[in-house]
Subunit: 360 residues, 4 copies
């Protein structure tokens, strides 16, 4: 339901316009000295209002630890971290129950929960809940740090503008779209600005890379690394495709081209190519783990769209008011990193690669 993971288990709590959004993390080993500044930095990368390509709403999302730390160190008890929501005007959302916004979850939420759900700001269906994901991911990243793994996501595509493939050193914070290919970045910004000026929005892709990942984590059959990563990434609203390595590109390849052949470099077994994105048989090979995530365009657009008045069962139209991200992709980058971190921490713990008490 609202819990994900086996050994590093996160429970999402909160609503967009309720008192708080947050997360409970169960299974984090004792003894991790949590760096709250790093955690807050990831939240700041996700928060609205940070640049001209994101919504102009400005919420200072401040993490507040309720449980699980003692003198700044994890104790092995569940960690609860929340962000208090500011008071917000929710009135415009109330009618969405009866005239569902196209592309949003209003309609399906209505089927599932009837009139009882919290409609304010999208409630449980709001992207705001990903703030809790970022918190859980920030803790997971610090666990992964302890075994040398490093996770970096970046904007790979906006509209039809794609980043060129980048080498090892990935700098994602040098521009507001978080694309390491600076010339593509400028073009992406233009594409987003254009969509916004027309009251429209645009989709895109995020690529996430795990450098020096642990090898041998994951399982064959059901708890494959791909399956668990995909499930976690689909928790992010607007995600509609998850690929590993060359992903959909495999369809057009021959086996002779697709197979990653083994060689020895610096005394270690590596593959010449990494088409598989570092995962074979559901288990990590030690090569970089690579996944690509496609986001649909923000459904909230300022243009008139067809909808239905569910009370009267009549066709009508709707124009979504308010300030919205014309492209969610740049703000989704830290969320994608977070979900990858959560799954890898879970599998690393399951495989016994991280001890149950750190620093002993």
């Amino acid at each position: 339901m609202n819990t994900l993971g086996t050994s590093y288990r996160i429970t999402s709590i909160g609503e967009s316009h309720g008192k708080v959004v947050g997360v409970v993390i169960d299974g984090c080993p004792a003894g991790l000295e949590l760096d709250m500044e790093k955690l807050q930095a990831d939240l700041d990368r996700r928060r609205p209002g940070q640049s001209s390509v994101s919504t102009t709403r400005n919420e200072a999302d401040k993490a507040e630890v309720l449980t699980g730390l003692y003198q700044g160190v994890t104790t092995g008890a569940p960690i609860t971290i929340i962000i208090r929501n500011r008071d917000r005007d929710s009135s415009k959302y109330l009618e969405a129950r009866w005239t569902p916004r196209p592309g949003h979850a209003d309609y399906t939420a209505g089927i599932r929960y009837g009139e009882k759900q919290d409609p304010r700001g999208g409630g449980r269906f709001s992207g705001r809940n990903t703030a809790g994901f970022v918190i859980a991911g920030a803790v997971a990243k610090q666990l992964l740090d302890s075994i040398g793994a490093n996770i970096i996501a970046y904007t790979y595509q906006i509209g039809s503008v794609m980043a060129k493939d980048v080498d090892q050193v990935i700098v994602t914070e040098s521009n507001i779209v978080r694309c390491p290919d600076e010339s593509a970045a400028q073009e992406m910004i233009r594409v987003i600005d254009e969509a916004r000026s027309e009251g429209d929005s645009v989709g895109g892709k995020v690529k996430v890379v795990v450098l020096t990942p642990p090898s041998g984590i994951g399982h064959p059959i059901f708890d494959t690394l791909e399956g668990d990563i995909a499930k976690a990434l689909y928790a992010i609203p607007a995600v509609k495709a998850v690929e590993f390595g060359v992903g959909v590109g495999y369809a057009e390849m021959r086996g002779s081209e697709a197979n990653d052949q083994y060689i020895i470099r610096d005394g270690k077994v590596v593959t010449v190519t990494n088409n598989s994105g570092g995962i074979l048989g559901g288990i990590s090979s030690g090569m970089p783990i690579e996944a690509t995530v496609t986001f649909k365009p923000t459904p909230s657009i300022g243009m008139e769209q067809k909808t239905v008045d569910l009370q009267r069962m009549e066709e009508t139209t709707i124009k979504v008011e308010g300030r919205h991200d014309p492209c969610i992709v740049p703000r989704a980058v830290p969320v994608v990193e977070a979900m990858m971190a959560v799954v890898l921490a879970d599998h690393a713990l399951r495989a016994g690669l991280i001890p149950q008490v750190l620093g002993e």
Copy 2:
């Protein structure tokens, strides 16, 4: 680990060259009169040796019920169904432990399980385990039948040959590649034959459609329908991308084009387009559920490839012997259907749409 699902829970058992492969299904309601012929028909669609585009191995995969049925009807107890493996020569697989075949799981299995895994025929990592998936799916399909849902998968792409989009009536068994677009089908067969004649293999895509699915199943946040379907599909060996609706195509779309607008047809709320593949906010809308699955080319090819002798830590080469599918996609079609059925049956049971005792 080897169990998937919450209310319809399947446990995969068996090894490729062991005594049996099979499945335990827990949570199937009592009172389902199981049609074993339909179940066997799905197994026959999956088995090797059925056509010129699949391997020429011929195994009669016969389902055998061990537990959970009484007088042909489910009792609410766990259902165990197995297929006995024929005796097979496993000698050629033994060396794969030390000279891993590119694209296969030999290398990662070795990291994970050391020398202890069953290497015969790929053991737990073999595609043969999907026979158990097909069994679990066949039972799930019969449960879904009782609420009117109908699942059809077909070959959508082989190499660069794509099927044209098809209308409601989908016939997939009229040709050996299981593609409803007959002219594309002939071209696909040619592409596969060409790859085989060169000792090579080729990848492709399967599309799966759920007609008249239940609406309102799934959850926001972690147990989204997309996430659970993706996780289940990634259990199929060689799957490297899972998309819903227009999938990766969303990246290049504008919101005004991407949003599925609501209208009324025949007194029911429907959407003009179905870009989202029938799922919004992780919950089914009632529109057809659509997913596309990309398979990498069969790793077993008759060409010489680079690998490493892990005992001597020396580079060497390998040429994989034996009869293998030059393209796994046609045989994967019933497996994709099965995993979709398993997830939908699970969510339909979770939502209370299927009673715990049928026919009362």
Copy 3:
């Protein structure tokens, strides 16, 4: 780990002397108008300082809803309810890490979590965490109300004083030990006072009865009603035995005496006796569910006891300071009710007896 249940799933959060204790409830149907006064009343029955037989510490445990309610009604989202802890002097607990208090968890907590656990007030091992259980139980009780089930626990034994068996009308709040047998109650109070005056403590038993329970909930084999209730009750600190019906008394019975024979009363099938405590084959029969829970005496006593200085590995002695309950049983009564409610709500939801959206 810190989560219990399948369909009504509770996650315990907090530490005795941390910021908060509380609970996250996942799976509560939408549409329950939560009666916060009833919830608070159960918390008041559990809180310290309520009578002369409990500790004289006085904490006003006030429930505060963080998530999951909208306009006082559950939404189907996870419900987070916390109690803020008052500032407390924790200094005396710090040394317990190195000189473990007999009967407490100090020693085993040290083995499990090393120096990293939160030692203040017993941290995660404190009975204070049961305040979160009471909250989860209060919500579960209101769900069970909707299907007519009613849960009542009472003090059954203190030291060697046992309550006489009581009939249907059980009044537990008429005396400070919560024993419906008034004359036994007075004797129990005397026994507790005597123990306290000697700096000692005393054990006892709580009996819990579910009147008009749902029939047909539970499972054979592993998820038996007895097994799940027992597991939930063992979550309460100091519980060391859980019995159903005549419990340990069955050992001395003959089958002819033990079997509950069936008769018809008022057109319904009932049993002449209810030795089994309303559960057969792990499934409820509809007769009252009855369990008895044994609590060990409070380990904190004012007498000198042997312990070990773990840093010096020397034998030493300890005298536990502070105000403690001389008998935990009267305050445990609402906690036992709560855990019973949590399990029954879970199984009633699993059996589909409570709809996923109430009041539709």
Copy 4:
């Protein structure tokens, strides 16, 4: 449902008079050279017809491995082990659906599964399913052997005859009731013979002791060692009470007497007494783990009992035919050992005390 455990996870399959009973074990580390003779020996201790105090039915319960072993060694894949049932006459059970046998699960099974359950020999509710538990326990015992833990259960009480407390050396197979106190054993045999000669049955208790258990396994709050052990023991049909250490005896104790005080012996921290049964705060202390399990008398007795004809809704009587154990306790001894082993193996794996690949 039919699965128990987290890291050592067992799924029970089969029916009393179906084709097979058995178990699937998931999570057993690779590299365990399974001693099938030891496993079979435990099955032989459980099987009917082994002595004059058990039923005179004689079934040779022979374990057959279907999956998970390669060359006699576990591979990390799920282990499936079954026992084929002999053909049996089930006709006499068919009527139990409509005239439920007192003390059996016929009535509750009918509420839960309607007419659909397998009624033959009690189906899923039969004690015969515990043969699968014994198999799972035998594998778990071999895992625990590798960390030095040793589990022994014995008959502690039959009717009002109790065994004297025994010292470290426990011999349980020297008499047919499996009681190490030889003089009590003779008296117990007499009590059972007496009940049988009167067509009646008798209850009793089994005590289980874990010598040199791992310390530091278990969790506070929900996954306490007591809770998980109790839940597993309640899976055994006829169990109605589970106690730890002095158990129900704690109710009459003072804290000064109940607390296990710490001393140093042979350089190790031990407790003077072991009233707590080796578990504090849900976590093992390293002292012997001790639990006592109460079994109700076998419900099948040859005397006339009241029941109800459910089709006609009329009161009637029943006399249960056939050969039945007059006391199930001696045959339950290996089952109690098995369930204890399953839980401890699970918690030892969760705590990382047993590696995922043995012998590397």
